[in-house]
Amino acid sequence: MKFTKKEKVSSSIPTASLPDIIFMLLIFFMVSTVFKEFRGLPILTPAARSTEKVEAKRNIAYVWADKNNRISIDDKIVPINAVSHVIGEKFAVNRRLIISLKIDKETKMGLVSDIQEQLRDAYALRVNYSTRFK
């Protein structure tokens, strides 16, 4: 009786397409990476339970305000009555602008209200109070 040799099943994982997969991942991360442009002011945002995520990171403009009543937009200290002008210019470029208000928890409401009035002057009505999850 003749014994036929059993065919061996190839046990290697094909690695020819590995670079393609890696490149795809690489391109995804390259595209989705947003390098931080500025840091803003040192603040501590309040915590809230109804915190939601904001989509569309590219439509967001940040307005920073700390407890010493300083306001910063794009890393520049802006006086309160110039906020509407600065935001108005941004809003003219992008109509879907969302203003993220990064305000320190010890800031007084007077300043917050003044900023909101300035935003209303600039027709930038979509705001987001930046908070942490509680």
Binding site: P19, Q116, V127, R132
Partner: protein
């Protein structure tokens, strides 16, 4: 005389290390990417000079916050943690409109000296209660 065949130099670019290079770049971007989603409480401000809408007084709940962080709901003192429950009851009493949104409107008014944190805590409670119509009154000068 024997003429030896000239060896042809390899005309290929070695691609075996391509994956390694790509991996290195990938790891760099993985490490440097900060997917920090912006998060916070969304609110749409009213348009300036917009038309004034008349609302029945009974459909409004007034929240007043003073400079010390004390809260009045319809002229009665209340703690911040209780706001949600009381507003839930009020929403239930007033019912819902034909779009399924609560009829109740909450007006929040602060003093100019009120801390922003207190305001956010109150706004948080109002949002958690399910109120969709929130009016932010300007603080008095």
């Amino acid at each position: 005389m024997l003429i030896g065949k000239k060896k042809k130099p390899a005309a290929e670019i070695p691609s075996s290390s391509l994956a390694d290079i790509a991996f290195l770049l990938l790891i760099f971007f993985l490490v440097t990417t900060t997917i920090d989603m912006d998060k916070g409480i969304n609110l749409t401000l009213p348009e300036k000079g917009g038309e004034q809408v008349k609302i029945k007084k009974g459909n409004i709940a007034n929240l007043l916050i003073n400079a010390a962080g004390q809260v009045l709901l319809d002229n009665e003192p209340i703690s911040v943690e209780q706001i949600r429950e009381v507003l839930r009851q009020k929403i239930g009493e007033k019912g819902y409109d034909n779009q399924g949104k609560p009829i109740l409107i909450v007006s929040i008014k602060t003093a100019r000296e009120t801390d922003y944190d207190t305001y956010i805590q109150v706004l948080d409670q109002v949002k958690l209660a399910g109120v969709t119509k929130i009016s932010i009154a300007e603080p008095e000068r």
